[in-house]
């Protein structure tokens, strides 16, 4: 095992670059994931299997519909999320995996043609995440449920991590040079610090302000406020990203954010709309994880480019000084969370509209979906 020595700074003897090691670990992780899915798939009932087949067809049909409608979204995981909710995380993972393999076999527009199979691990993890969130009740919670506290704490943690990232970016910078050992270590350390800030915020707020009991009238208020703040933040970030960073752009973004916040409050106050917030937290975090897993695939297999209109974004991020991996990840961060949030919302609407005779056929239909 002599070759397995991590490069020290200025090394002259043969050694392994951390990037190469990371790819090796990633390949092993994919093999373990596929093996685990294969093992779990033996226990699936006939209903689950025919649901998976239909869900694969749904993924590919709607995923190719976005080409017809010229939408800058993928929408190729609605079936995966549906299976995750109705039949559990492993069934969702199998759906995602097989969707991308089948898409490789068929001349259906959308996807990446016969090379779509490279994204199969991403789709599998989306299925796992959907099953995980369905188990936590995202498709079931009402806006007066005490478990909402956990979701509010998580959303606050994400916000804290995002603010920490911005702070680091504007002070010491998040640059990353693949040839320089020191900058790689600094990058990883900064990443760990940011993740710790997020985790600490989640832990503290869960035990203090978001420690809620059932029937607490504050839950609804918090939900409405959280909906408004996240909608405003999203609009602000989008406008800032798309417009050139000028003072006028800042002003337009601020005005847009305030308008959206007011609209979101009036929308969330009506009936039970605010209960969608946990669904969005689930979709958003799934999108974050999907972007994180897709980025090394885009960087390593596709030369850091996806072949869609989003490549303009990749070029933009590179002029801002990001690496091949960094620009692919940043592009994923701008489209994946939005895409998965929309997919989760669509699945939520479909689940609530589903006839009870169909819903009760599936192993978790009763557990994860509310009336």
């Amino acid at each position: 095992m002599d070759w397995l020595t991590i490069c020290p700074e200025g090394a002259t003897t043969p050694c392994v670059q951390p990037v190469q090691l990371a790819y090796l670990v990633a390949v092993l992780a994919v093999v373990v994931l596929v093996a685990a899915i294969g093992r779990r798939s033996r226990d699936f009932t006939t209903v689950t299997l025919s649901l998976i087949a239909v869900a694969i067809a749904i993924n590919i049909t709607i995923g190719s519909l976005t080409v017809v409608l010229r939408l800058p979204l993928y929408l190729d995981s609605i079936g995966t999320v549906l299976v995750g909710a109705l039949a559990g995380p492993w069934a969702g993972a199998l759906t995602g995996l097989l969707t991308d393999l089948v898409w490789s076999l068929l001349p259906v527009p959308g996807g990446a043609g016969p090379t779509t199979a490279f994204f199969a691990p991403v789709a599998a993890v989306i299925g796992l995440m959907a099953g995980f969130w369905a188990d936590r009740g995202v498709f079931q919670l009402r806006s007066d449920d005490a478990r909402i506290g956990g979701f509010l704490a998580l959303a606050l943690g994400i916000a804290a991590a995002a603010i920490a990232t911005l702070a680091v970016q504007n002070t010491v910078g998040l640059g990353f040079d693949p040839d320089d050992q020191g900058s790689q270590i600094r990058f990883v350390c900064l990443g760990i610090v940011i993740a710790l800030v997020g985790a600490a915020t989640v832990a503290v707020s869960r035990r203090t302000i978001f420690r809620l009991r059932g029937d607490d009238p504050r839950i609804r208020t918090y939900l409405i406020a959280a909906t408004a703040i996240s909608a405003a933040a999203l609009v602000f970030a989008l406008i800032r990203l798309l417009l050139v960073p000028t003072d006028l752009g800042l002003f337009v973004a601020a005005v847009g954010a305030v308008v959206v916040a007011v609209l979101a409050v009036s929308w969330a106050r009506r009936s039970d709309h605010a209960r969608l917030f946990p669904v969005w937290v689930g979709g958003f975090t799934t999108g974050l994880v999907a972007a994180l897993i897709a980025a090394p695939i885009v960087a390593g297999v596709f030369g850091g480019v996806t072949g869609g209109g989003t490549d303009a974004l990749i070029a933009l991020f590179r002029t801002l000084g990001l690496s091949v991996f960094g620009s692919a990840f940043a592009q994923g961060l701008t489209s994946d969370p939005l895409d998965k949030t929309i997919s989760f919302t669509i699945v939520f609407v479909v689940l609530t509209a589903m006839p009870i005779t169909v819903r009760t056929m599936f192993s978790r239909g009763e557990l994860t979906v509310a009336e």
């Binding site: 070759w3 020595t5 043969p14 050694c15 392994v16 798939s41 033996r42 009932t45 006939t46 209903v47 299997l49 025919s50 649901l51 087949a53 239909v54 067809a57 749904i58 590919i60 049909t61 709607i62 519909l65 017809v68 409608l69 010229r70 939408l71 929408l75 609605i78 549906l82 199998l94 097989l98 089948v102 076999l105 068929l106 001349p107 259906v108 043609g113 016969p114 090379t115 693949p178 297999v301 596709f302 030369g303 850091g304 480019v305 996806t306 072949g307 490549d311 990749i314 070029a315 590179r318 690496s323 091949v324 620009s327 669509i346 609407v349 479909v350 509209a353 589903m354 169909v358 056929m361």
Partner: protein
């Protein structure tokens, strides 16, 4: 049953009886795996050898024309890989040419060409595999080799469902357009179109799951004993020799890549 949806259900398959067509699907799958591993693990120069090899295989199978036609599928992606990397490469230092505010760097051009070449080689290999292999034959072979027939059922029924569901989606789209739904216009407008389209497609297909499950159970899908195959895929001595050779070649590529990791 297969007559209903042959256009998409047979995929990229082009009927023929060349040597490549007659190989066992598993042999061709191993060949594809070899090209994949070699393209990404061997030095960039090996791409030229692989490309020549694939071109020879395509010509001998009489698929050169179809192959050239299929190259338009990844054309946008390949152009994008080369252009974006040539102009915006993070580690680009040696400027070859300045065009206004943009500069073409040598590192970027090399990285873009190598990435595009790798992807093209893998794409050509997968298309040759898909041109000469029916999904039915592939699944039948895999089930005979121990892959669960349940997984094979899921893949096969998804493959047959897709054209029908796309047909249904097109029908719903036409019906909604006849009621005045406009599918052009601004982004927000096109996003709103999704609601009256996706809803009916999803709910109708979920109700189908019930029917399909009952039909499957009534035909003993979950029954325990082993099954015999209706389709028998031919497997020759040549195939066995090729498979052993390919497995050895794949292992050799991996070993040489791991041994050369540090350099």
């Amino acid at each position: 049953m297969r007559g209903i949806a042959t256009d998409v259900a047979t995929g990229y398959y082009i009927a023929g009886s060349s040597r490549l067509h007659r190989r066992n699907p598993l042999t061709k799958l191993l060949g594809l795996l070899f090209v994949l591993v070699a393209a990404f693990l061997l030095p960039a120069l090996s791409l030229a050898v692989l490309a020549a090899l694939l071109a020879g295989v395509a010509i001998s199978a009489g698929l050169a024309g179809a192959l050239l036609g299929s190259l338009r599928i990844p054309s946008v992606l390949v152009v994008s890989i080369v252009v974006v990397n040539t102009l915006f490469f993070p580690g680009g230092r040696d400027v070859m040419l300045e065009v206004g505010p943009l500069s073409i760097t040598q590192q970027g051009l090399t990285f873009g060409l190598v990435s595009a070449g790798r992807l093209l080689v893998v794409f050509v290999a997968s298309v040759l595999f898909l041109f000469t292999t029916l999904a039915d034959d592939l699944l039948e072979t895999l089930v005979a080799r121990g892959v669960s027939h349940r997984i094979a059922f899921v893949v096969q029924s998804a493959v047959q469902l897709i054209p029908r569901m796309r047909h249904r989606a097109a029908g719903i789209l036409a019906a909604q357009q006849a009621r005045g739904l406009s599918v052009s216009g601004s982004l927000v407008r096109r996003l709103r179109v999704l609601v009256p389209l996706v809803g009916p497609v999803l709910l109708a297909s979920l109700v189908d799951v019930r029917e399909r499950t009952l039909a499957l159970e009534a035909r003993g899908f979950g029954a325990r004993p082993g099954r015999t195959a209706y389709r028998v895929v031919p497997d020759s001595g040549l195939d066995r020799v090729l498979r052993v050779t390919l497995i050895v070649a794949i292992l050799a590529v991996i070993v040489s890549a791991v041994a050369g990791l540090g350099r």
